[in-house]
Protein backbone atom coordinates (compact mmCIF):
# COMPACT_ATOMS: atom_id res chain seq x y z
CA UNK A 1 0.00 0.00 0.00
CA UNK A 2 1.08 3.50 -0.68
CA UNK A 3 1.86 5.88 2.10
CA UNK A 4 -1.01 8.12 1.05
CA UNK A 5 -3.51 5.29 1.35
CA UNK A 6 -2.29 4.34 4.81
CA UNK A 7 -2.42 7.94 5.94
CA UNK A 8 -5.91 8.40 4.56
CA UNK A 9 -7.27 5.39 6.45
CA UNK A 10 -5.43 6.47 9.59
CA UNK A 11 -6.86 9.98 9.57
CA UNK A 12 -10.29 8.88 8.37
CA UNK A 13 -10.55 6.33 11.17
CA UNK A 14 -9.57 8.92 13.79
CA UNK A 15 -12.03 11.45 12.34
CA UNK A 16 -14.90 8.95 12.26
CA UNK A 17 -14.32 7.58 15.77
CA UNK A 18 -13.85 11.08 17.19
CA UNK A 19 -17.07 12.31 15.58
CA UNK A 20 -18.97 9.36 17.05
CA UNK A 21 -17.52 10.06 20.49
CA UNK A 22 -18.54 13.72 20.21
CA UNK A 23 -22.20 12.75 20.26
CA UNK A 24 -21.80 9.70 22.51
CA UNK A 25 -20.34 11.51 25.52
CA UNK A 26 -22.42 12.85 28.35
CA UNK A 27 -19.96 15.54 29.38
CA UNK A 28 -19.71 18.58 27.07
CA UNK A 29 -16.01 19.09 27.76
CA UNK A 30 -15.08 15.58 26.61
CA UNK A 31 -17.18 16.15 23.49
CA UNK A 32 -15.28 19.36 22.82
CA UNK A 33 -11.92 17.61 23.18
CA UNK A 34 -12.95 14.87 20.75
CA UNK A 35 -14.14 17.55 18.34
CA UNK A 36 -10.66 19.09 18.49
CA UNK A 37 -9.18 15.66 17.68
CA UNK A 38 -11.59 15.41 14.77
CA UNK A 39 -10.51 18.82 13.45
CA UNK A 40 -6.84 17.88 13.66
CA UNK A 41 -7.35 14.67 11.70
CA UNK A 42 -9.36 16.64 9.14
CA UNK A 43 -6.38 18.97 8.81
CA UNK A 44 -4.27 15.91 8.01
CA UNK A 45 -6.75 14.85 5.35
CA UNK A 46 -6.64 18.33 3.84
CA UNK A 47 -2.85 17.97 3.62
CA UNK A 48 -3.32 14.67 1.78
CA UNK A 49 -5.55 16.55 -0.67
CA UNK A 50 -2.68 19.08 -1.13
CA UNK A 51 -4.68 21.93 0.38
CA UNK A 52 -1.97 23.30 2.64
CA UNK A 53 -3.51 26.68 3.34
CA UNK A 54 -6.86 25.17 4.30
CA UNK A 55 -5.11 22.62 6.53
CA UNK A 56 -3.23 25.34 8.40
CA UNK A 57 -6.28 27.57 8.78
CA UNK A 58 -8.25 24.52 9.94
CA UNK A 59 -5.78 24.11 12.79
CA UNK A 60 -5.58 27.82 13.57
CA UNK A 61 -9.21 28.87 13.15
CA UNK A 62 -11.16 25.75 14.10
CA UNK A 63 -8.97 23.82 16.51
CA UNK A 64 -7.42 27.01 17.84
CA UNK A 65 -9.90 29.85 17.95
CA UNK A 66 -13.37 28.32 17.77
CA UNK A 67 -12.76 25.38 20.07
CA UNK A 68 -11.02 27.58 22.63
CA UNK A 69 -14.21 29.66 22.60
CA UNK A 70 -16.30 26.53 23.17
CA UNK A 71 -14.12 25.24 26.00
CA UNK A 72 -14.10 28.71 27.54
CA UNK A 73 -17.89 28.93 27.52
CA UNK A 74 -18.17 25.42 28.99
CA UNK A 75 -15.80 26.51 31.77
CA UNK A 76 -17.72 29.75 32.39
CA UNK A 77 -21.19 28.26 32.52
CA UNK A 78 -20.31 25.16 34.53
CA UNK A 79 -23.52 23.44 33.52
CA UNK A 80 -24.78 20.19 34.93
CA UNK A 81 -24.43 16.94 33.03
CA UNK A 82 -26.95 16.33 30.36
CA UNK A 83 -30.36 15.15 31.44
CA UNK A 84 -31.97 12.15 29.83
CA UNK A 85 -34.89 12.36 27.51
CA UNK A 86 -38.32 12.34 29.06
CA UNK A 87 -40.00 8.94 28.86
CA UNK A 88 -41.73 8.95 25.51
CA UNK A 89 -38.82 10.67 23.78
CA UNK A 90 -36.49 7.68 24.08
CA UNK A 91 -38.21 5.92 21.21
CA UNK A 92 -37.61 8.99 19.08
CA UNK A 93 -33.91 8.83 19.96
CA UNK A 94 -33.61 5.25 18.72
CA UNK A 95 -35.62 6.15 15.66
CA UNK A 96 -33.18 8.97 14.88
CA UNK A 97 -30.21 6.60 15.15
CA UNK A 98 -31.80 4.15 12.73
CA UNK A 99 -32.83 6.93 10.40
CA UNK A 100 -29.30 8.38 10.39
CA UNK A 101 -27.84 4.96 9.57
CA UNK A 102 -30.28 4.58 6.69
CA UNK A 103 -29.37 8.00 5.30
CA UNK A 104 -25.65 7.21 5.55
CA UNK A 105 -26.06 3.88 3.74
CA UNK A 106 -28.10 5.61 1.08
CA UNK A 107 -25.45 8.31 0.60
CA UNK A 108 -22.64 5.76 0.35
CA UNK A 109 -24.68 3.73 -2.11
CA UNK A 110 -25.12 6.72 -4.36
CA UNK A 111 -21.54 7.93 -3.97
CA UNK A 112 -19.98 4.58 -4.88
CA UNK A 113 -22.65 3.49 -7.31
CA UNK A 114 -22.75 6.74 -9.22
CA UNK A 115 -21.09 7.25 -12.56
CA UNK A 116 -18.52 9.99 -12.02
CA UNK A 117 -16.26 9.53 -15.01
CA UNK A 118 -15.91 13.24 -15.41
CA UNK A 119 -13.87 13.43 -12.22
CA UNK A 120 -10.42 11.91 -12.55
CA UNK A 121 -9.69 9.00 -10.26
CA UNK A 122 -6.43 10.54 -9.14
CA UNK A 123 -6.11 13.94 -7.59
CA UNK A 124 -4.55 16.35 -10.02
CA UNK A 125 -1.25 16.33 -8.23
CA UNK A 126 -0.30 19.97 -8.38
CA UNK A 127 0.88 21.25 -5.07
CA UNK A 128 0.56 24.81 -6.37
CA UNK A 129 -3.23 24.82 -6.12
CA UNK A 130 -3.49 24.95 -2.36
CA UNK A 131 -0.65 27.34 -1.63
CA UNK A 132 -1.23 30.62 0.13
CA UNK A 133 0.04 32.40 -2.98
CA UNK A 134 -2.57 30.89 -5.28
CA UNK A 135 -5.47 31.17 -2.85
CA UNK A 136 -4.50 34.73 -1.94
CA UNK A 137 -4.35 35.65 -5.61
CA UNK A 138 -7.82 34.24 -6.24
CA UNK A 139 -9.16 35.81 -3.08
CA UNK A 140 -7.92 39.32 -3.83
CA UNK A 141 -8.49 39.30 -7.59
CA UNK A 142 -11.65 37.32 -8.29
CA UNK A 143 -13.31 37.19 -4.89
CA UNK A 144 -12.56 40.63 -3.52
CA UNK A 145 -16.23 41.54 -2.98
CA UNK A 146 -17.08 38.39 -0.95
CA UNK A 147 -13.85 38.95 0.96
CA UNK A 148 -14.92 42.44 2.02
CA UNK A 149 -18.40 41.20 2.87
CA UNK A 150 -16.85 38.46 5.01
CA UNK A 151 -14.82 41.05 6.91
CA UNK A 152 -18.00 43.03 7.56
CA UNK A 153 -19.64 39.83 8.73
CA UNK A 154 -16.85 39.32 11.26
CA UNK A 155 -17.20 42.93 12.44
CA UNK A 156 -20.95 42.55 12.89
CA UNK A 157 -20.45 39.24 14.71
CA UNK A 158 -17.95 40.86 17.08
CA UNK A 159 -20.30 43.72 17.94
CA UNK A 160 -23.29 41.41 18.17
CA UNK A 161 -21.63 38.94 20.50
CA UNK A 162 -20.46 41.73 22.81
CA UNK A 163 -23.97 43.18 22.92
CA UNK A 164 -25.55 39.79 23.55
CA UNK A 165 -23.14 38.57 26.19
CA UNK A 166 -22.67 41.67 28.31
CA UNK A 167 -24.83 42.35 31.29
CA UNK A 168 -27.17 45.28 31.30
CA UNK A 169 -25.38 48.13 33.00
CA UNK A 170 -28.46 49.22 34.96
CA UNK A 171 -28.79 45.72 36.39
CA UNK A 172 -25.22 45.51 37.57
CA UNK A 173 -25.47 48.88 39.33
CA UNK A 174 -28.39 47.81 41.49
Amino acid sequence: MELQTILFWFFALIAAVASILVIANKKPLISALFLILNFFSLAGIYLLLSAQFIAISQVIVYAGAIMVLFVFVIMLLNAKDEEEFAGGMKKIKNFVYIFGAIIFIELVYFIFGGNNEKISAHPKVSVEIGTIENIGFNLYVYYILPFIVASFLLLVATIGSILLAKKKIEQSNE
Binding site: V61, K93, L164
Partner: protein, 102 residues
Amino acid sequence: MSEITINHYLALSSFMFVIGAVGVITRRNAIVVFMCIELMLNAANLALVAFSSFLGDVQGQVFVFFVMTVAAAEAAVGLAIIIAIFRNKQSLNIDELNLFKW
Protein backbone atom coordinates in the same frame (compact mmCIF):
# COMPACT_ATOMS: atom_id res chain seq x y z
CA MET B 1 -9.43 -0.67 -1.45
CA SER B 2 -5.84 -0.01 -2.35
CA GLU B 3 -6.40 3.28 -4.09
CA ILE B 4 -8.11 6.27 -2.55
CA THR B 5 -10.60 7.87 -4.90
CA ILE B 6 -12.83 10.87 -4.36
CA ASN B 7 -15.56 8.44 -3.29
CA HIS B 8 -13.71 7.66 -0.09
CA TYR B 9 -13.44 11.31 0.84
CA LEU B 10 -17.11 11.85 0.07
CA ALA B 11 -18.07 8.81 2.14
CA LEU B 12 -16.12 10.16 5.12
CA SER B 13 -17.75 13.54 4.59
CA SER B 14 -21.26 12.07 4.51
CA PHE B 15 -20.51 9.98 7.59
CA MET B 16 -19.48 13.06 9.55
CA PHE B 17 -22.51 14.96 8.28
CA VAL B 18 -24.92 12.22 9.36
CA ILE B 19 -23.26 11.96 12.78
CA GLY B 20 -23.58 15.73 13.18
CA ALA B 21 -27.24 15.67 12.17
CA VAL B 22 -28.02 12.82 14.55
CA GLY B 23 -26.21 14.70 17.31
CA VAL B 24 -28.22 17.87 16.69
CA ILE B 25 -31.45 15.94 17.08
CA THR B 26 -30.58 13.64 19.97
CA ARG B 27 -28.45 15.79 22.27
CA ARG B 28 -30.04 18.03 24.88
CA ASN B 29 -27.16 20.33 25.75
CA ALA B 30 -27.15 23.54 23.73
CA ILE B 31 -23.35 23.68 23.54
CA VAL B 32 -23.09 20.11 22.25
CA VAL B 33 -25.78 20.84 19.68
CA PHE B 34 -23.62 23.74 18.58
CA MET B 35 -20.56 21.50 18.31
CA CYS B 36 -22.54 19.10 16.14
CA ILE B 37 -23.35 21.98 13.81
CA GLU B 38 -19.61 22.66 13.53
CA LEU B 39 -19.16 18.98 12.69
CA MET B 40 -21.65 19.29 9.85
CA LEU B 41 -19.93 22.41 8.53
CA ASN B 42 -16.63 20.53 8.54
CA ALA B 43 -18.18 17.66 6.62
CA ALA B 44 -19.25 20.12 3.93
CA ASN B 45 -15.76 21.62 3.94
CA LEU B 46 -14.22 18.20 3.42
CA ALA B 47 -16.43 17.55 0.41
CA LEU B 48 -15.54 20.96 -1.05
CA VAL B 49 -11.80 20.43 -0.60
CA ALA B 50 -12.00 16.93 -2.06
CA PHE B 51 -13.76 18.18 -5.18
CA SER B 52 -11.36 21.09 -5.42
CA SER B 53 -8.37 18.78 -5.31
CA PHE B 54 -9.72 16.18 -7.69
CA LEU B 55 -10.89 18.73 -10.24
CA GLY B 56 -7.70 20.76 -9.98
CA ASP B 57 -9.68 23.92 -9.28
CA VAL B 58 -8.98 26.41 -6.52
CA GLN B 59 -12.53 27.73 -6.18
CA GLY B 60 -13.56 25.03 -3.72
CA GLN B 61 -10.77 25.99 -1.34
CA VAL B 62 -11.66 29.68 -1.59
CA PHE B 63 -15.22 28.74 -0.69
CA VAL B 64 -13.98 26.73 2.29
CA PHE B 65 -12.20 29.87 3.44
CA PHE B 66 -15.51 31.73 3.46
CA VAL B 67 -17.25 28.86 5.20
CA MET B 68 -14.63 29.08 7.95
CA THR B 69 -15.29 32.82 8.28
CA VAL B 70 -19.01 32.23 8.62
CA ALA B 71 -18.41 29.40 11.11
CA ALA B 72 -16.24 31.64 13.28
CA ALA B 73 -18.85 34.41 13.26
CA GLU B 74 -21.61 31.91 13.94
CA ALA B 75 -19.74 30.35 16.85
CA ALA B 76 -19.10 33.74 18.46
CA VAL B 77 -22.70 34.94 18.17
CA GLY B 78 -24.18 31.57 19.07
CA LEU B 79 -22.10 31.19 22.21
CA ALA B 80 -23.03 34.74 23.22
CA ILE B 81 -26.68 33.77 22.81
CA ILE B 82 -26.08 30.64 24.90
CA ILE B 83 -24.52 32.77 27.66
CA ALA B 84 -27.51 35.12 27.57
CA ILE B 85 -29.92 32.17 27.75
CA PHE B 86 -28.01 30.62 30.63
CA ARG B 87 -28.17 33.91 32.51
CA ASN B 88 -31.95 33.90 32.24
CA LYS B 89 -32.75 30.21 32.61
CA GLN B 90 -29.80 28.83 34.63
CA SER B 91 -29.89 25.83 32.31
CA LEU B 92 -28.58 24.70 28.96
CA ASN B 93 -31.22 22.06 28.36
CA ILE B 94 -32.82 22.91 25.04
CA ASP B 95 -36.01 21.12 26.07
CA GLU B 96 -36.67 23.99 28.45
CA LEU B 97 -36.28 26.59 25.72
CA ASN B 98 -39.75 26.18 24.31
CA LEU B 99 -41.06 29.72 24.44
CA PHE B 100 -41.70 29.84 20.70
CA LYS B 101 -42.87 26.25 20.40
CA TRP B 102 -46.46 26.05 19.25
